[in-house]
């Protein structure tokens, strides 16, 4: 029986870059050949979540949300738009971090849909955060003498939003690789504006736990941290701020290794992708330091 992967993401009516990471990761996974079909669907772009399943021929579909946290989109909008009749968030049996998979028959197409938890709360996302630090510093051994900040949006509307940030910050901390690790937020305490207050290390890698680069990661956060007065003029990596060197990484979702998290989600849901995971890990491996 053929199996398909559908990656669902927010997309944007205004920002053409919003869907780019989703396309990139889909392409990486497509090239690895584990699925008969790999498709993408969007809330704000096309094909819409409402219609994406009818562009898929396979009977067995693994749906992985390119979202950071469990909440409104993963628990209400996506299941509703995909027409997962009988969807009940309790089927995920999650505490806000632990959703893995729930299986339904799509009312629209009759396909068996394995609806996976979002990429942002998967344990392997921690590896991507660390890989992002390696990428931005071009040092595969980065860690010693460095601080590491995971940045989230933070919002009062969704308590799970902060949970994902804290979860990964704690996991990065547990690796013992970086001298200091801190979770910071745009809209709540502790704020990313004061990033240098939270670190003694001279070098600090700052990685936003966002899916794509856009308004927040390209404009707000660089300006809030004092990397630049005006995002349009750009900023250095690293940039000097209050005696610290800030290595600002941009959205973690643009890191090539993200494709691995998508595959891990599908694998957890029962997809036969083990060889693809190896391939993707290999093809998304950066070779920092090899750059000239």
């Amino acid at each position: 029986m053929s199996q398909a992967l559908v990656i669902v993401a927010h997309g944007s009516h205004l920002n053409p870059g919003s869907s780019a990471p989703t396309y990139d990761h889909a392409d990486t996974i497509r090239a690895a050949g584990a699925f008969d079909e790999v498709r993408t669907g969007y809330w704000k772009e096309e094909p819409s979540l409402r219609e994406v399943l009818r562009t898929v021929e396979a009977d067995e579909v693994y749906v992985v949300p390119m979202f950071i946290s469990e909440g409104y989109f993963t628990e209400q909008v996506i299941p509703r738009e995909l027409r997962l009749d009988g969807w009940d968030v309790a089927d995920w049996d999650s505490d806000g971090l632990s959703a893995d998979v729930a299986t339904y028959t799509a009312a629209d197409t009759g396909q068996t849909v394995h609806y996976c938890g979002p990429v942002g709360t998967h344990s392997s996302m921690t590896d991507v955060l660390i890989r992002r630090a390696e990428s931005v510093t071009e040092d595969p051994a980065v860690g010693e003498g460095f601080g590491f900040a995971v940045v989230g949006h933070g919002t009062e509307r969704n308590e799970n939003s902060a949970k994902a940030i804290e979860y990964h910050a704690e996991r990065v901390r547990e690796t013992g690789r970086f001298d200091e690790v801190q979770a910071l937020y745009m809209d709540e305490e502790p704020e990313v504006d004061d990033v240098t207050d939270f670190f003694e290390s001279e070098d600090v890698v700052v990685v936003p736990l966002f899916i794509s680069d856009g308004f927040h990661t390209q404009e707000d956060i660089p300006e809030d941290m004092g990397l630049t007065d005006d995002y349009r003029t750009g900023y250095d990596v690293p940039a000097e701020v209050d005696g610290h060197r800030i290595w600002y990484a941009g959205a973690v979702g643009t890191e090539a290794l993200m494709a691995d998290v998508v595959l891990e989600r599908a694998a957890d849901a029962g997809a036969d992708v083990s060889s693809a995971i190896e391939t993707v890990r290999e093809t998304t491996r950066v070779a920092p330091g090899a750059d000239d």
């Binding site: 205004l14 396309y23 009818r54």
Partner: protein, 365 residues
């Protein structure tokens, strides 16, 4: 005809071939019967069958559809059959036409199918309809369907296209030599889900979510769109779903038993529910429609009033860029418009110096 095609025909003759006018069967005496609409031979040995089948378009046609495309009852097969008008013409007629190329228009896409008459292999050229007359060498050529996502992303002015079925598809590119799989994939990536929905419509199975259904299921910040008055939904359809703006044919109405007066358009593929752009714009219109009208008093000359009307027309019809810098006879000419602003606006941007007197309604977005 290739050796593998004849081998397949012999193999399939055991259970009987009956496709697109080709009939091949194994008779009780062990010989083969071979029939097309204009040819019939019976009691053939395998060697004789080969002689009849060779160079016969019905055979390579059978092989292409039944051994390569396969997938009966699939949207992509139906789409490819449509591209050579398979329901309307015999194989012989199609091969004649395909030698010169058969053209399908799909929104702003032009798909030209051709055939290699020796093998039945179809190739497809996909490009913008406006580039029909251009040589491939004069266009930017692509061979990977995935490139379609990037090509379709911006219009000819470099502006982002969030709506793939909008009428501003870029020109200047071509996928000149695609196989059938990649041809469908390219169309799918350019105009997502249009083949699937057209196919459902062909089968009488298109599910339409009307305005009221679609808005009723919205939540979060879009929950309010349900409150947009019935009358305003007409204006939404007229504004956004017109053929000048979108290549889809609007099939959704206000509700199943309440049709909109606005024309749904003539697109080849249907629109089965208000798209996300319409929902997002509907939210803004819902908020705007909550305001109560009030009377303002301005003094304008008749020509100034007409000019305001002309500016709105020009912006709504996307004609602003066509208006020449020195053409002060056009209402929306920049100098004319700047003159009007200089004359009629006060220092706060108020038309006629009349304050707008906003209510405390929500202006955030």
């Amino acid at each position: 005809m290739l050796a593998r095609q004849f081998d397949a025909l012999v193999h399939e003759a055991e259970s009987g071939v009956d496709f697109d006018g080709l009939q091949v069967a194994r008779a009780a005496d062990g010989g083969y019967d071979f029939r097309t609409p204009d040819h019939e031979a019976t009691g053939l040995s395998e060697g004789e069958l080969h002689a009849h089948a060779d160079d016969n378009p019905y055979v390579t046609n059978w092989y292409f559809w039944e051994r390569e495309v396969q997938r009966h009852d699939s949207p992509r097969r139906a789409f490819l059959r449509r591209a050579e008008a398979a329901a309307e013409h015999t194989v012989g007629e199609r091969y004649d036409a395909l030698r010169d190329g058969m053209v399908t228009e799909w929104g702003q896409l032009r798909i030209e199918a051709t055939v290699d008459p020796d093998t039945g292999d179809r190739r497809y050229d996909v490009r913008h309809v406006d580039d029909a007359e251009h040589a491939v060498a004069d266009l930017t050529a692509h061979d990977d369907p995935l490139d379609a996502r990037e090509v379709a992303k911006h219009d000819d002015d470099g502006m982002y296209r969030p709506l793939k079925s909008a009428t501003n598809a870029p020109t200047g590119w071509v996928f000149p030599d695609l196989d059938w799989r990649d041809a469908v994939e390219t169309v799918e990536l350019f105009l997502p889900a249009t083949v699937a929905n057209w196919y459902r419509e062909q089968r009488g199975e298109l599910d339409v979510d009307h305005w009221a259904d679609t808005m009723e299921r919205q939540t979060g910040i879009y929950g309010v769109v349900e409150e947009l008055p019935r009358e305003a939904v007409e204006w939404v359809a007229e504004a956004a779903c017109d053929d000048s703006q979108c290549t889809k044919r609007r099939e959704w109405q206000y509700s199943a038993d309440d049709e909109l007066a606005a024309d749904g358009g003539a697109g080849v593929y249907p629109c089965r529910e208000p798209c996300s752009l319409v929902v997002a714009a509907g939210r803004k219109w819902t908020k705007l429609e909550e305001e109560e009208p009030r009377e303002y008093t301005f003094r304008m000359t008749p020509s100034e009033k007409e000019q305001v009307e002309g500016i709105i027309e020009a912006v709504a019809d996307d004609r602003v860029d066509e208006i020449r810098e020195a053409d002060v006879y056009e209402d929306a000419n920049r100098y004319r418009t700047r003159y009007l602003r200089a004359k009629l606006f006060d220092d706060h941007g108020n038309l006629g110096g009349v304050p707008t007197e906003q209510d405390d309604h929500d202006h955030d977005e």
